[in-house]
């Protein structure tokens, strides 16, 4: 699918493929028991992002400009090198689902044990997101707000002068 996205010239098909990819990864998250993440991926990645990409295509046109044609060595080398480094970095990671992995030993047991009692909320994801990691969520919200402001400033500003 990724190769299809790279190879296709028709950007409409590319947007559709990335939407399908989002839905597939959402179902992947469901099988990993990460329902909240799957929910977000399905609604944001599969829904809103696809609609916004289509809106962008309606503004800009839906065929890709023909590229230079010849193989570009430097970008390919950078990508291959980065990929190799990332794979090398995963070699000493604990195996998938290992209960002795550091991430399961650090704060996670405390959250699982304490969160439902301390917050009175059965969904641990919600209590971690909004309470234990309140600063992070605030930052995320600020990012979204800033993005909205940016879009207003770039796309919406001229409208008022027209009216």
């Amino acid at each position: 699918m990724a190769i299809g996205i790279v190879r296709l010239d028709n950007l409409f098909a590319v947007v559709m493929l990335s939407g399908i990819y989002s839905l597939i990864s959402a179902s992947l998250f469901v099988t990993l028991d990460a329902v909240d993440v799957a929910f977000t991926e399905a609604s944001v990645g599969g829904g809103i992002a696809t609609v916004l990409m289509l809106a962008t295509l309606a503004l800009t046109g839906d065929t890709e400009k023909p590229g230079k044609g010849h193989l570009q060595i430097l970008p390919l080398a950078v990508v291959v090198l980065t990929g190799a480094l990332l794979i090398y970095g995963t070699l000493d990671m604990p195996s998938f689902g290992d209960p002795m992995a550091p991430i399961h030993q650090h704060v996670a047991p405390r959250y699982i044990e304490e969160a439902p009692r301390a917050t009175g909320i059965p969904n641990i994801v919600t209590s971690v997101l909004a309470s234990y990691r309140g600063y992070d969520t605030m930052g995320e919200l600020t990012v979204i707000f800033t993005a909205g402001i940016g879009v207003i400033l770039i796309l919406g500003a001229r409208r008022r002068r027209d009216d």
Partner: protein, 146 residues
């Protein structure tokens, strides 16, 4: 013009209340099931975007006035920050929900609900604003041709 996309129009009208109700359910049931402010905001915004896609942006702007949406967008973030500062005023730390109510557990619950509501409103308003901005740009481009 009325006959165009007849099935889509009727289906959208039928689905709208359910989409918005589901968004509210995700928002306020996020403590117990999967979901929360981010997802609820996106679903709520998607409802408006669907309506704008089928009935036109003007029809959607009758309900979601651009100035109102911008106020709501800022209101959500201010609510989040306000809850944070309220914790400071009541003698705790920033974003400390324990002091919001008589018991720490009740305070946590109240704080999380308020904060998630702030997240939901800002996300929904931002999604609607972004889509309306794109659509307004398109409308401006199509106007000179008419």
């Amino acid at each position: 013009m009325v006959r165009r996309h007849f099935i889509l129009r009727v289906t959208t009208k039928l689905l709208m209340p359910f989409i918005l109700m589901f968004a509210l359910y995700v928002q306020f049931h996020g403590d117990f099931g999967p979901g929360g402010g981010f997802q609820a905001g996106v679903i709520f915004g998607a409802g408006f975007i669907l309506y704008a896609l089928i009935y036109g942006v003007e029809a959607a702007e009758q309900v979601a006035r651009p100035w109102l949406i911008r106020i709501v967008m800022a209101f959500g973030l201010l609510l989040y920050l306000g809850v944070g500062y309220l914790g400071m005023v009541l003698g705790g730390e920033f974003l400390d929900y324990n002091v919001l109510s008589s018991s720490p557990v009740g305070g946590q619950h109240l704080g999380i609900t308020l904060v998630e509501f702030g997240v939901g409103t800002t996300v929904a308003a931002t999604m609607i604003t972004v889509f309306f901005s794109f659509a307004g740009r398109m409308r401006r481009r199509s106007q000179p041709e008419q």
